[in-house]
């Protein structure tokens, strides 16, 4: 069976089906994005059950308000990631604030730093997952497998120039994880301008 749907088309049709109240569409949406949503929430919150809760909230939001996604503003995947990020950071701030009020350890600056750190880490995850596969593969070899760029080039079957280019480009993409401005502001997932 040929793949008929290009991503923008898939996104648009998915939104229409969700708006129509088609339960099967909700299942397909979950199958496509659940591991992204859960992974990001877990990176921010560091807790399995809290990540489950965010996953539930994200899909409930999309299902209840499919019209809040505008396909013209960017891919559905980006929108879902942004929504996940916002809800997870909100939850982290709420739990940390409650903990602070209860035992008085730490300062609000500590709290903000923790929130910012979690937020950047989650965005970095998203960037790594979304970057073109060749770039990710090069980073994987050079960083996790500790190959130098010549070995990386050999492993990937590309020139040394190309290996250097991929490592640099991959890190350039990754470095945009820091670019989201103040914590709590809409994170820069790079979709809607």
């Amino acid at each position: 069976m040929a793949k008929k749907d290009t991503p923008p088309r898939w996104d648009r049709k998915m939104q229409q089906r969700l708006a129509r109240g088609e339960a099967a569409a909700l299942g397909e949406l979950y199958d496509r994005f659940a591991s992204l949503v859960h992974g990001l929430a877990h990176r921010v919150l560091g807790d399995e059950r809290a990540a489950d809760g965010i996953t539930r909230e994200v899909f409930a939001h999309v299902w209840e308000h499919p019209d809040t996604y505008d396909p013209k503003q960017g891919p559905l995947r980006t929108w879902v990631a942004t929504l996940t990020h916002r809800l997870a950071v909100q939850r982290l701030r709420a739990t940390e604030t409650a903990a602070l009020a209860q035992d008085g350890h730490g300062t609000t600056e500590d709290l903000e730093r923790k929130v910012r750190h979690a937020s950047v880490a989650a965005r970095a995850d998203y960037i790594v997952q979304s970057m073109p596969v060749p770039l990710r593969a090069a980073l994987e070899l050079a960083y996790f497998q500790r190959r130098d760029y010549r070995q990386t080039a050999t492993d990937l079957g590309v020139t040394e120039d190309e290996a250097r280019r991929r490592l640099r480009l991959g890190l350039q993409l990754l470095s945009t994880a820091h670019d989201a401005g103040a914590p709590g502001a809409p994170p820069g997932y790079g979709g809607a301008a």
């Binding site: 069976m1 793949k3 659940a34 409930a60 790079g190």
Partner: protein, 498 residues
């Protein structure tokens, strides 16, 4: 497109930062530059190799590089200005006007400290590297990852002292390295899907629900897909033995994990055809329109053994089936699904496919040594119910072909009347009790006419019905008419097929 790619379908599709970064790279490194660089790399090949070894051994000996490489430690492992180093709200960016403080890459930190004596030897024979600005710039990524040679690292670091734009970028890339993390575990709790979907549907009831009888198929295909997501390329070729009962004998057929998915694709295709969707067999002609006939034809038609690429069409078809039955499966006029030698109503065919999906997912999980649990109790119960409802017909066919004890000497039971019955008691989650009429598919099971009682665990019963356990070996508690019990157990095993 591989299955994994589906989740990356949007990668690099024109996100603004992609373009920005592309532009940054594009401003240098034309083809001429690339050629020059690889020439010099080739000429120096032997020497680089030697230093590669020293880099590796340094990394292996508990250097700062190891500390940094541990994603658990993350940010703390390197110098001032590292991401999240706790230096307060100002962040890693230096005050304007000040030169950026650039942390050294992980390996070259100790290369810079330690190898000074060692440098005395190579330096006379190897002149210091003189590299052009574009080459040095192109090395920044590798440098930040400590993935270039000590000479190159030295040349880059020297250059950073005098080049503001490279220094800025070096700092930025160095910090980016601190953001590389092992991916979070992908193993989602398979029960989470059901819980999330149910909570959504509670909040906003669907206008077009997935029919009750299609939810086991929806859940089982999602569970199998999650397993496939996790397995590696090589595991798709792990051998799997399909097992079933034919003519009361255990039968098997060897294939691979990918071959099993191809089997599910072609047999699920029976429902696709009944619903008017595309037949996954396409132009391939099967000897017989049966599950086995179609599967063998599909396997034969491909020049190469199936690979993981079969996952996408299988998954798309399963999504299409759930979607289509949500629209057309309600009300009367549902099409029957032909299996070649028999037919099932659409709702039973969907249950049957859910059952097969689980059974084969277990085959796959066993082959690749992954854990795999039974379906949810509610779905397991429906699968058992389907088997229990099919037993009277199967018994009648077996009687006609001499495989079950004849009904001779017993009074014929008119349709709709109570008849001689066996009580099937299924224990465990998803269990229950079923009265199986023994003498006629039209008869009604009756407690007053109970002649035998069989008790077994739900999963064990399903293994029996899948042909994975023989009737003789099935762990079943038995009471009453032994011949009736034997007939029912063999009939259950004969429900299995390829």
């Amino acid at each position: 497109m591989s299955g994994a790619d589906r989740f990356e379908a949007y990668g690099g599709s024109g996100r603004p930062e992609d373009r920005g970064a592309q532009g940054g790279i594009g401003e240098e490194g034309g083809p001429g530059d690339a050629g020059a660089r690889s020439d010099s790399g080739g000429a120096d090949g032997g020497e680089w190799g030697g230093h590669g070894v020293s880099r590796d051994s340094g990394a292996g000996s508990g250097s700062p590089a190891d500390g940094f490489g541990d994603p658990g430690e993350g940010s703390g492992g390197f110098g001032p200005g590292g991401p999240g180093d706790g230096s307060g709200g100002s962040g890693p960016v230096p005050a304007p006007g000040q030169p950026p403080r650039i942390p050294m890459p992980r390996a070259s930190v100790e290369d810079g400290d330690r190898p000074l004596p060692a440098l005395e030897e190579p330096i006379p024979s190897v002149p210091p590297l003189v590299l052009e600005h574009p080459v040095l710039k192109s090395l920044l990524g590798a440098w930040a990852l400590a993935a270039c040679s000590p000479q190159e690292a030295e040349a880059v670091e020297e250059h950073l002292g005098g080049c503001g734009s490279c220094a800025d970028e070096a700092l930025r890339l160095r910090e980016a390295v601190g953001l590389l993390q092992r991916p979070e575990s992908l193993d989602l709790d398979p029960g989470l899907r059901t819980r999330v979907l149910e909570s959504c549907l509670d909040r906003r009831p669907p206008r077009i629900p997935v029919p009750d009888w299609a939810t086991p198929y929806d859940a089982e295909t999602a569970r199998l897909d999650a397993l496939l997501q996790d397995i590696g390329d090589a595991e798709w070729h792990a051998p799997v033995r399909l097992r079933w009962f034919e003519a009361d004998e255990a039968t098997s057929r060897r294939t691979t994990v990918a071959g099993v998915i191809a089997h599910l694709l072609t047999v699920d295709g029976l429902i696709a055809v009944a619903l008017g969707l595309d037949d996954p067999l396409g132009e391939v002609r099967a000897d017989a329109p049966t599950p086995a006939g179609r599967t063998e034809a599909y396997w034969r038609a491909s020049h190469f053994p199936p690979t993981r690429s079969v996952r996408v069409p299988w998954r798309e078809q399963s999504h299409d089936l759930v979607r289509t039955v949500s629209f057309t499966g309600v009300g009367t006029g549902r099409p029957a699904v032909s299996y070649g030698t028999f037919e099932l109503p659409l709702h039973d065919a969907m249950l049957d496919r859910a059952f097969e999906c689980w059974v084969h997912a277990e085959d796959i999980a066993e082959a690749v040594d992954y854990p795999y649990g039974p379906p949810s109790p509610r779905h397991l119960n429906r699968m058992i119910d389907l088997a229990a409802r099919m037993l009277p017909t199967v018994l009648a066919v077996r009687r006609q072909t001499g495989r079950a004890a004849p009904a001779a000497g017993r009074h014929l039971v008119p349709a709709g009347e109570p008849g001689r019955s066996l009580r099937l008691e299924i224990e465990g989650h998803g269990g229950g009790e079923w009265l199986i009429p023994l003498d006629s598919p039209g008869a009604v099971g009756s407690a007053d006419h109970e002649v035998a009682h069989v008790a077994l665990d739900g999963v064990e019963f399903c293994r029996l019905a899948a042909g994975h356990v023989s009737p003789a070996e099935a762990a079943a508690g038995q009471l009453g008419d032994r011949e009736a019990i034997r007939d029912v157990l063999f009939a259950a095993a004969s429900l299995s097929r390829m």
